[in-house]
């Protein structure tokens, strides 16, 4: 926001090493549905930045379009934000990073924004190993346009009754691994104990860090089979063909060690499988196998799946100067008329 926020802070608030309180990392009040998983992730981002002792204004937060892409307004209000167009956050972030390699880039997107319209840009930003954290708030649907299926797995699909979504689901974690992403992790919006450290690790990674965060949409439940608990609502909905009632819900949380079944609002559940403590995330082949295995077991693997500790980011690969390009002086940019006259001479 461009207006200066009320400066008053409770003196007693705890501060991080830079002297910032948690509130310095917060944003505007969320306008998402009460209980939306996305808000939990925003909270985790605030916590991670606070713990990381980041200067808020050194972060640039970018997003596409969707409920998920709205969240940058709800954290880091002292950071510049850019709510671009649908599915195009990766290219805008790439340009921003090309211009100034010194900022911390945090990209937020949704499963529709990244796995459908943004698929091409998602694949190519990985290929360039752009130094950024890329969070997909994955609810398996198009929230802002009222709940159409997205191309990613529906977290509720395991307990689904009746006809499943006919098409292949795209697993963004598997895709990122296949495309050579240098940091790949997955978590669940409600599992703050796992999520905060993952976000911190991602933001510290030198290169492209991808986080697929499962984040239930409390409002659009495209899973009719398992929704008895809503009979009253659903009667209204069916009757009026007008989904305009949103029951208030509490945030879903899950704090677990190894594996856990997490109940979703629609009464369905997802089976989260945490990578064991001993897991070595630097072994690509193992990561691919493990992922494939849990898919076959119908589990959703969470945790830090893979990291390339020797990652070299876009600028290293491209041999860009250390100093950010947006800080080059006019003298450094413009060769001057003398050289131009030599060039003219070559054209005669």
């Amino acid at each position: 926001m461009t207006y200066i926020r009320p400066a008053f802070r409770h003196p007693g608030l705890p501060k991080n090493d830079l002297g910032y309180s948690r509130a310095d990392y917060e944003g505007a009040i969320s306008t998402l549905c009460a209980g939306c998983g996305h808000d939990s992730i925003s909270g985790a981002i605030v916590q991670a930045c606070y713990e990381l002792n980041i200067e808020p204004h050194r972060v640039a937060k970018l997003s596409g379009i969707g409920c998920s892409s709205k969240t940058p307004t709800y954290f880091l209000s002292n950071s510049h934000g850019f709510n671009s167009v649908h599915g195009r956050m990766p290219s805008v972030t790439t340009g921003a990073n090309m211009a100034n390699r010194d900022l911390i880039y945090l990209g937020v997107s949704g499963d529709g924004d990244s796995a459908s319209i943004g698929m091409g840009q998602f694949c190519h930003v990985i290929r360039r190993n752009l130094n950024m954290t890329y969070i997909v708030m994955n609810n398996g649907c198009y929230g802002l346009t009222k709940g159409q299926d997205s191309a990613t797995a529906d977290p509720g699909s395991i307990s689904k009754k009746g006809e499943p979504n006919p098409f292949q689901a795209i697993d963004l974690v598997g895709l990122a691994l296949e495309l050579g992403a240098t940091f790949v992790g997955r978590s669940f919006s409600g599992d703050r104990t796992q999520l905060v450290p993952l976000i911190k690790a991602a933001m510290k990674h030198e290169g492209f860090a991808f986080l697929d965060v499962i984040s239930p949409c409390v409002t659009f439940n495209n899973n009719v089979g398992s929704t008895k608990s809503y009979s009253f609502v659903r009667d209204h909905v069916n009757a009026t063909a007008n989904i305009d009632l949103v029951p208030h819900r509490d945030e879903i949380t899950a704090d677990y060690d190894d594996a856990a079944w997490v109940d979703l609002h629609d009464g369905s559940a997802i089976h989260l499988k945490k990578l064991s403590q001993g897991w070595d995330p630097t072994n690509k082949q193992a990561a691919l196998d493990r992922l494939q295995a849990s898919r076959e077991a119908g589990e959703i693997l969470t945790g830090l799946v893979y990291i390339d500790t020797s990652s070299r980011d876009y600028h290293e690969l491209a041999h860009t100067a250390e100093r950010p390009l947006n800080q080059l002086t006019e003298a450094e940019l413009c060769p001057g008329n003398a050289i131009l006259q030599q060039i003219n001479a070559g054209m005669r």
């Binding site: 461009t2 510049h80 709510n83 195009r88 290219s91 790439t94 090309m98 900022l103 041999h319 054209m347």
Partner: protein
């Protein structure tokens, strides 16, 4: 048979097969004429293919310095059997056809009304060179040699050019010298050289240069301070990006670290290319992209974002034959409507229309100042003819005392001293607001950029009054733009004229020639070369002060004319269209015909 007498005034066309090394030989021909101080313009007429199809190289020589295309071919060098019949037919009566007499022509091909000059090019090449590849390449030098005898091109000029090209590779130099001589002496012995169309040294070039528009555009971006380029290959814009990379390697590599003071990404497509430009400009680096029609169509949504979120953008559109894939290797000026109004909703974009490499250079450099000053997209409307052909042009110039106009950007200090600030507050009344760059200040100046509706403080709003107010304020920047863009160039007739001729870009060459042709016929015409959109007051008064106005364009619908009518409320009745859209550059004759 009548034959054509003329000195330093002719059209010579080369008919080759693409991928056979002819382009370098042919360009030596134009270069030599240029070096003899005679105005010359070559045009490549090439296929959308890599090897084996007909390609032509058409050279106009004009003592009077007319640099547009001219109808009628005086001398055709026929090296391509595929197109031979068509080529023979294209020579104008009394003209000359030089052909490879290694294989004799069929009697039916012998037009009685033109002169045939048989040169056993392939034979001579085979007699003197062993490797097939050498034969193919040097065959081209053989006909260059013959031409130097026939048209009286100074032999040492050609040798000089060969030396420059092959530099230290002496073996190559000698091989080429020899081939040239072979052709020269064959012609000298078999034909009475020089022909009555011939060349004579002059001093009509002055300090002018010969350069492709795309290279000049790339240099303009270098001098304009661009440090970020994102692009996607597409004919005819590809060479802009490639030239930028070459110049940047030379001029922008950090002397100390040897690292790049620039970043170039070959994007996955045009949408991404534009996204990167927007991201970089938002973050304070000067960035640009170059594309052609199909790319501009794909960038439409992003152009709307940049317009509404007020982010500077520099886009180079090297136009080609549309619609759709159309004629990718032919020229047109048919993206005007698209570029002016690209994207949904009420949008309007600043356009610049260069006509020479010198203007490609200066307008591209200026585009960055304009874009950052106005916080909006600026589109440079070049075309294939200007971009990919060598053009005779005034030399490029840079005023070292000039400073970039980075527009209204607040520093940390500025922010410290500001009482209150809103990203979209119009404090100066010119419609342009003060922006901040990410990372500038710990507690002040952060804001949220979005393509959705917001208030003066960049807060999201759905309040219709606020929304309309913001739209009006953005619209008001248009008047500021009008005062900043390059003015149209007026060429008044000696005596007062009722007829006005309006044109832009590469139509200018033929248009100015047409004005002379009409003067010779006693018709006075005032001419106006449009250089930018929005149009300045000078354009308005030109329209008001002429009874009958002809608008010359290389598209089918008269797109610039529509802009004139829409934006200046001019009466359509008095604006007549002169159009050419067959993909070939328009000629003066066509314009004169169009005015009848």
């Amino acid at each position: 048979m009548s034959s054509v007498r003329s000195v330093n005034d002719m059209v010579v066309r080369f008919a080759n097969v693409n991928g056979t090394g002819s382009a370098s030989a042919n360009s030596m021909f134009s270069k030599a004429i240029f070096r003899m101080g005679i105005p010359v313009t070559p045009k490549n007429i090439f296929p959308s293919n890599i090897q084996g199809l007909p390609t032509w190289y058409e050279v106009r020589v004009s003592e009077k310095g007319y640099l547009g295309r001219k109808e009628g071919i005086d001398l055709l060098v026929a090296v391509n059997p595929q197109s031979l019949d068509k080529d023979i037919a294209s020579v104008r009566p009394g003209g000359y056809l030089m052909y490879d007499s290694t294989r004799p022509l069929h009697p039916s091909q012998l037009r009685p009304d033109i002169h045939f000059l048989g040169l056993p090019m392939m034979q001579m090449a085979m007699d003197h060179y062993s490797q097939p590849r050498q034969q193919q390449l040097l065959k081209n030098m053989v006909y260059i040699g013959a031409l130097s005898a026939l048209l009286a091109i100074e032999r040492d000029v050609i040798q000089e050019i060969i030396r420059e090209q092959f530099g230290n590779k002496e073996s190559l130099v000698q091989m080429n010298f020899q081939a040239v001589d072979l052709g020269f002496f064959y012609a000298f012995e078999h034909f009475d050289c020089p022909l009555d169309i011939r060349l004579e040294r002059r001093d009509l070039i002055g300090d002018h240069i010969m350069m492709e528009g795309n290279a000049a555009t790339a240099l303009g971006a270098i001098y304009g301070g661009a440090s970020v380029l994102s692009w996607y290959p597409i004919t005819p814009s590809t060479s802009v990006a490639q030239a930028f990379e070459d110049f940047a390697k030379d001029l922008r590599t950090d002397p100390v670290s040897g690292k790049k003071n620039y970043a170039i990404v070959q994007a996955e497509d045009e949408l991404a290319a534009m996204g990167m430009v927007i991201g970089a400009m938002w973050n304070g680096a000067r960035a640009f992209t170059a594309t052609s029609g199909p790319g501009v169509s794909l960038m439409s949504e992003f152009l709307g974002l940049a317009y509404f979120a007020e982010i500077p953008v520099v886009l180079v559109d090297v136009q080609r034959g549309g619609p759709s894939t159309g004629m990718p290797t032919r020229t047109q000026q048919s993206d005007i409507t698209l570029a002016a109004y690209a994207s949904h909703g009420d949008t309007r974009h600043v356009l610049l229309f260069p006509s020479t490499p010198a203007e490609c250079f200066s307008m591209t450099a200026d585009a960055f100042d304009l874009a950052e000053r106005l916080q909006t997209p600026v589109i440079i409307m070049s075309d294939l003819d200007l971009g990919m052909n060598d053009h005779l042009s005034p030399p490029l110039h840079w005023d070292d005392s000039r400073r970039y106009d980075r527009g209204k950007v607040l520093s940390a200090e500025d922010l410290d001293h500001l009482e209150k600030w809103g990203r979209y507050l119009d404090v100066d009344g010119d419609g342009i607001c003060y922006r901040t760059l990410p990372g500038t200040h710990p507690t002040k100046g952060a804001y949220f950029t979005r393509g959705s509706s917001r208030d003066e403080y960049a807060r999201y709003t759905e309040d219709g009054t606020v929304y309309a107010r913001v739209l009006d304020r953005i619209g008001s920047k248009w008047d500021t733009a009008r005062s900043l863009v390059p003015a149209a160039e007026l060429h008044e007739a000696e005596e007062p004229a009722e007829i006005g001729l309006v044109f832009f870009g590469t139509s200018s060459y033929a248009a100015m020639e047409a004005v002379d042709l009409l003067r010779e016929r006693g018709i006075a015409v005032d001419a106006l070369r449009i250089r930018a959109f929005p149009f300045g007051p000078e354009v308005e008064s030109f329209l008001d002060s002429h009874e009958q106005i002809f608008v010359v364009e290389q598209n089918k619908e008269g797109q610039l004319r529509s802009l004139l009518i829409n934006e200046l409320e001019a009466n359509p009745k008095k604006l007549r269209k002169i159009l050419n859209y067959d993909g070939m550059p328009i000629t003066a004759d066509a314009i004169v015909r169009g005015m009848r």
